[in-house]
């Protein structure tokens, strides 16, 4: 299409609006970074000025050398990695069975998975707490994993079974004629073909468990078992005037999230659209 002056004006207007919105959306983050670079005495001077007079990394140094902070980051990472691996394995196995294998009870079980999509996790926190108590999983880091996995399975199974449905059945049948069993067809055929969808599952599962707060703060008691979100929330309680410290800790927790998001942001789009637009 030829660009008329009118088109150019429209493009300029679009940039103007988008730019203004971008400033509003990003400003709170810039403010957080700026506060984390201020030394304690400067924190409350003129709030609208973004660049501090004497920027310092002192807050970051203090956070990283704080007694338990590296431990909290490790706790969060371990729980997130273990949960993500289990979510990917278990939800993809279920999804493969629901979309490719005929077995009695298949429809009922799938309907029960769909029911799980409608239950907000917070609604279940009381009976889940009692269950964790009965299974002796309170105040235990590995004890978080089954709860993170169980609450994530419905959504991811649903997402993946939609994806597996789109793989041509002829491929399955060709492998079957070659004598391949269900496991080989799942592992060597369906899984490699589902990589984009699996990428979405990995990202959502990792971010969801890395950031999880409500359940972890309810079941964990011991200081050395805390995860990063609990530590940051408590940090604010203990150092109520040193916001620079709080935000330095927050930014350290945000860095892996933003790095993963930037690396895989295309999968975000793919995963969201299959999840929301199709239904």
């Amino acid at each position: 299409m030829r660009r008329t002056p009118r088109d150019r004006l429209l493009l300029a207007l679009r940039y103007l609006f988008l730019g203004a919105c971008a400033v509003v959306m990003v400003y709170p983050f810039a403010y957080m970074v700026s506060t984390s670079l201020k030394s304690r005495t400067y924190v409350l001077s003129d709030p609208t000025r973004l660049w501090p007079d004497e920027p310092t990394l002192d807050n970051y140094r203090q956070v990283l050398t704080a007694e338990h902070f590296p431990r909290y980051a490790l706790n969060s990472a371990l729980v997130a990695v273990a949960s993500t691996m289990l979510i990917v394995l278990l939800s993809s196995m279920m999804a493969y069975a629901f979309s490719r294998l005929r077995f009695p009870g298949r429809r009922v079980l799938f309907a029960l998975i769909v029911v799980g999509l409608t239950i907000p996790t917070m609604m279940l926190i009381i009976p889940q707490f009692l269950l964790a108590r009965d299974l002796h999983l309170l105040n235990s880091l590995p004890g978080l994993v089954p709860f993170y996995v169980g609450t994530a399975l419905a959504f991811n199974t649903f997402l993946l079974s939609g994806f597996f449905e789109q793989i041509p059945r002829e491929l399955d049948e060709a492998m079957m004629i070659d004598g391949a069993g269900a496991w080989r067809r799942y592992w060597n055929l369906a899984m490699p073909l589902a990589k984009p969808a699996l990428g979405t599952v990995v990202i959502f599962s990792f971010l969801g468990t890395w950031d999880e707060y409500a359940w972890a703060v309810t079941v964990l008691n011991d200081t050395d078992k805390r995860t990063l979100p609990i530590a940051i929330a408590l940090f604010q309680g203990q150092h109520s005037t040193s916001w620079g410290l709080v935000f330095a800790a927050s930014i350290i927790a945000l860095v892996p999230v933003i790095a993963i998001y930037l690396t895989f942001q295309r999968y975000f789009v793919a995963g969201l659209t299959t999840g929301a637009v199709k239904s």
Partner: protein, 318 residues
């Protein structure tokens, strides 16, 4: 051998029988594999989701005692009757409804507006998409603390905007000391954090509209507004209703931001159903009352969203 003495028809029958047996054993093997594939995941899912879902209802009908082994008496609907007369619970529902009424339309309208601006040829659109989506991937804990700092009572960012820039108030506002200013700060956080999500879904739906269709409309002399009204809007109608329903459910289930910004205070003024449920259960150990509160909330919200879903479907059918 016996095979040689068989008549042709008997041989065919035997072959068919063998084939049937082979295929039924293959079906049996597939069924077994199906069960083995589903079993581990479904066991965890059933234990952590389905069993507690049933348990919520049972707990809400009891007067649950924390002492293990002691009998918890059944009290019927007493917890529900209590909740419906509890002024704090009713106020928490009003707060959540206000939060939803504020955040949902803003997220839908701004998200849609941004998606329309980003749709089509635009150098740098990925950069904008990433920037708008950053609040969505950030953890609720971090952004709740951030907004608590932004809306602090002293010379905070929000106060310098309200007092020096907009001149809406002569002196600093103590945002979290009053019900509606606190709810406003919480709702602004919810809107800011959610816009990127609805934008991304609308953008995906808009991208699915064929470019030829938009160009044809443009050639026919349709302006931007009419192109949006007659070409883009019909294409995103289903995305619109899904986003609306999911945001509605999410709005009533607001929790971490309220918990970390006000804790439901001052004196229960900013309580929402989930913070109230949480306090009843884990501060006062009234697990049964907490379960009744959470069941009323979920039941009401699901019923209302089913109604919305039915209503949009019916309008589409007309």
């Amino acid at each position: 051998m016996t095979v040689t003495s068989q008549t042709p028809s008997a041989a065919v029958r035997a072959a068919a029988e063998g084939w049937r047996r082979a295929s039924s054993s293959r079906a049996r093997r597939t069924a077994l594999a199906g069960w083995l594939f589903v079993l581990p995941g479904f066991a965890v899912y059933g234990l952590v989701m389905l069993y507690p879902a049933v348990q919520t209802v049972l707990l809400s009908l009891q007067d649950w005692t924390i002492v293990p082994g002691q009998e918890s008496p059944w009290v019927g609907l007493a917890n529900y009757a209590e909740a419906l007369q509890d002024p704090v619970f009713l106020r928490s529902l009003v707060n959540a409804a206000a939060y939803t009424a504020f955040t949902v339309p803003l997220q839908v309208v701004i998200g849609l507006f941004l998606a329309v601006l980003l749709d089509g040829y635009l150098p740098g659109r990925v950069l904008f998409r990433v920037l708008f989506y950053l609040p969505v991937v950030s953890s609720w804990v971090v952004v709740s603390l951030l907004f608590r700092y932004i809306f602090a009572s002293d010379d905070s960012l929000a106060n310098s905007v309200v007092v020096n820039l907009l001149h809406l108030s002569g002196s600093n506002v103590a945002w979290f000391q009053q019900r509606w200013t606190a709810m406003l700060a919480i709702a602004l956080l919810g809107t800011w954090k959610g816009i990127g999500w609805s934008m991304l879904i609308f953008l995906a739906a808009l991208t699915a509209v064929p470019v030829e269709l938009k160009e044809a409309a443009a050639l026919d002399g349709a302006g931007a507004v009419r192109r949006f009204r007659y070409v883009s809007l019909p294409a995103i109608r289903s995305a619109l209703s899904v986003v609306f329903i999911l945001l509605f459910i999410g709005g009533f289930n607001v929790f971490i931001s309220v918990q970390l910004m006000t804790g439901g205070g001052p004196s229960n003024a900013t309580q929402v159903p989930l913070t109230y449920m949480y306090q009843q259960a884990f501060d006062f150990l009234d697990f049964s009352y907490g379960s009744a509160v959470s069941f009323i909330l979920t039941g009401t919200v699901l019923a209302l969203s089913a109604l919305q879903y039915w209503w949009t479907r019916r309008r589409e059918a007309l």
